[in-house]
């Protein structure tokens, strides 16, 4: 009888072992990739029939401390609690039965380290290099005297006309650089255009009001307008109070600018920068006052409002291209041409991606999506 039970037990263990092997059970530990160190990635392949597993950690293979209770469903766990780079950590994955008893355990060890390159961002690096190279190439081509065709942007060609109109009417111009701070590229793009506009205003002996809603933008805009007057040879005509701060609050700012539009009745209004819900309130008030309105933003949700209410709208990239376009410098125009090449690369990538996906080839999508 004893022999029978012994044979039965051995057979059971053998079958259980075979089952484990057949299901390709594995437990591995490795440095968590593409991070700044301090983390170890644990991966396992355990049958889902087990209710729970315990992960323990040790630095000497003897004193294990429990760090997490996990389910086989998870498949991975990142240990980033008090992990020191260069120190070897030993892990034990204990598989529990329904009674909470350990029926199997697996071991693995790994060292954490910080990487010098994030391989997840290879596709981003490739795109950056391609775009950067094409822009740099065209900048240098333009420097060497190569003639580049840049399509006309009506909104920017109208700037001089708007300033002239303001001078004839004896009314000021209003420039609104959006409601975001200097850390938004759209604000910087708007301020770049302000430099060109203020120069024209100085040349035409007109006046400009620049209400801002961020203190950092205030000091930058003031400096830009001052330099523009200096370039135009009219530093004496610069009025420091023409650039002024209203408030940081979105609708408080809108109320302030609307008040200025209704009181001053500017001949032309410029809304160039980052805008949110205030875009239409500003543009419609400007429309009611009868001003020539030129707007520009890269906010896709606000562009329709500007298109509906303004005479000219710079859509997306046109806002960023405006300064280069207005400067008419070969260097800057070259960068615009480079951007167009970037656009062509993206269009080709999109088309190739669509065709590959239609044929069930997911290489490009995976490369761009997961990396």
């Amino acid at each position: 009888m004893k022999k029978f039970f012994f044979c039965f037990f051995i057979s059971f263990m053998f079958i259980f072992y075979i089952q484990l092997v057949a299901q390709d059970i594995s437990f591995t530990a490795q440095d968590n990739p593409n991070d700044d160190g301090g983390a170890i990635l644990l991966e396992w392949n355990i049958p889902l029939s087990y209710p729970e597993m315990i992960i323990s950690r040790s630095i000497d293979r003897e004193n294990y401390i429990e760090i997490a209770a996990v389910s086989p469903l998870l498949k991975t766990f990142i240990d980033d609690e008090n992990i020191e780079d260069g120190q070897e950590y030993f892990y034990k994955l204990s598989v529990l039965n329904l009674e909470g008893e350990t029926i199997e355990s697996f071991s693995a060890s790994a060292l954490a380290k910080a990487e010098w390159f994030n391989t997840d961002k290879i596709s981003l690096l490739i795109m950056t290099i391609l775009l950067g190279s094409s822009i740099t190439y065209f900048i240098f081509s333009a420097r060497k005297g190569k003639r580049l065709y840049i399509r006309k942007i009506s909104g920017l060609d109208t700037i001089e006309e708007a300033v002239g109109r303001a001078t004839e009417m004896g009314k000021p111009l209003l420039f609104v650089p959006g409601i975001m701070d200097l850390d938004d590229m759209q604000t910087i793009a708007g301020l770049n255009i302000l430099g060109h506009l203020a120069e024209k205003v100085a040349q035409y002996d007109s006046t400009i009001h620049v209400p801002v809603c961020r203190s950092m933008v205030l000091s930058t805009a003031k400096e830009i307008v001052k330099e523009a007057y200096l370039r135009a040879g009219r530093p004496d005509a610069f009025k420091p109070d023409s650039v002024f701060y209203l408030t940081d609050d979105q609708f408080g700012y809108v109320a302030g600018v609307d008040g200025i539009i209704l009181r001053e009745k500017p001949a032309a209004t410029f809304y160039l920068g980052a805008f949110y819900a205030e875009s239409l309130i500003l543009a419609e008030t400007g429309f009611e006052s009868g001003a020539i309105q030129i707007a520009g933003t890269a906010m896709p949700t606000q562009i329709p409002f500007f298109v509906a209410a303004c005479d000219y709208t710079l859509i997306g990239e046109e806002l960023f291209a405006a300064s280069a376009y207005l400067s008419n410098e070969p260097n800057q125009l070259g960068s615009l041409k480079g951007q167009d090449v970037g656009k062509a690369i993206i269009i080709i990538t999109l088309l190739v991606g669509v065709v590959l996906e239609m044929f069930g080839i997911h290489f490009l999508k995976d490369f761009l999506a997961t990396h």
Partner: protein, 225 residues
């Protein structure tokens, strides 16, 4: 310009290097920006005071409004400093009499019952402006604006209960003709495609502008040409 080049280049490089010290570079620089903008707020307040006082002094048109602006600003600052806010204690404790009268601290009272309502009033103007702008935009003057009008009407009807009622009788086999489905299609495909195209091009524009600034070609933001 050298600082701009170094900082710009470092930020680009740090995007691809997870190793210290590059991993925290972007966060640190954002922190620096916040500190600088914190100090710059004083400049903004000074500008606000200066411009308003000059206008009051010169008796500019509608000058009483500028007095209201300065008084409102001063009241909020004084209330905030003296009695504090809900989260921050002020210089002096709020008396029970004051607390019974306002229900909250004076700053919070003004903020909640005055400022928030004024902001909401400004925001609500959007609805009326949207109607007037839509009226102009949707006039069928050209094939493009006619298309815009048709798309807008379909989306508007499809997003309301009247859209379902109007096309409810169409059999399920022709479900794509249901107004809510047409509205969803327009929003999901042509609208999303257009928005993404703008976003991709804007992204390219940002890269181009950034490179111009980093390489020192674009100097307008420094006051240069």
């Amino acid at each position: 310009m050298l600082i701009t080049f170094l900082v710009g280049a470092l930020i680009i490089v740090s995007e691809f290097i997870p190793h210290k010290p590059f991993n925290n570079l972007s966060t640190s620089l954002e922190g620096w920006f916040l500190i600088i903008s914190g100090f710059a707020i004083i400049l903004g307040q000074l500008s606000l005071f200066k411009v308003n006082i000059i206008k009051i002094h010169r008796k500019a048109p509608n000058w009483p409004y500028f007095i209201i602006a300065l008084v409102s600003f001063s009241v909020m600052v004084i209330c905030g400093i003296l009695w504090g806010t809900q989260q921050q204690p002020g210089l002096i404790p709020v008396s029970d009499k004051m607390l019974n009268f306002f229900g909250v601290k004076p700053f919070d009272y003004i903020f909640k019952y005055l400022f928030e309502n004024l902001s909401a009033t400004m925001f609500s103007l959007l609805a009326f402006f949207m109607a007037s702008a839509s009226y102009r935009a949707f006039r069928a003057r050209s094939p493009e604006s006619t298309l815009l009008l048709i798309a807008a009407v379909l989306v508007m009807l499809g997003r309301t209960t009247i859209g379902s009622t109007l096309t409810g009788w169409i059999p399920e086999s022709l479900g794509f003709l249901h107004l809510p489905n047409i509205a969803s299609f327009i929003m999901k495909y042509p609208n999303t495609a257009g928005q993404r195209a703008i976003m991709i091009c804007a992204g390219l524009g940002v890269i181009g502008s950034s490179l111009r600034i980093i390489l020192g070609i674009e100097r307008s933001y420094l006051g240069g040409k």
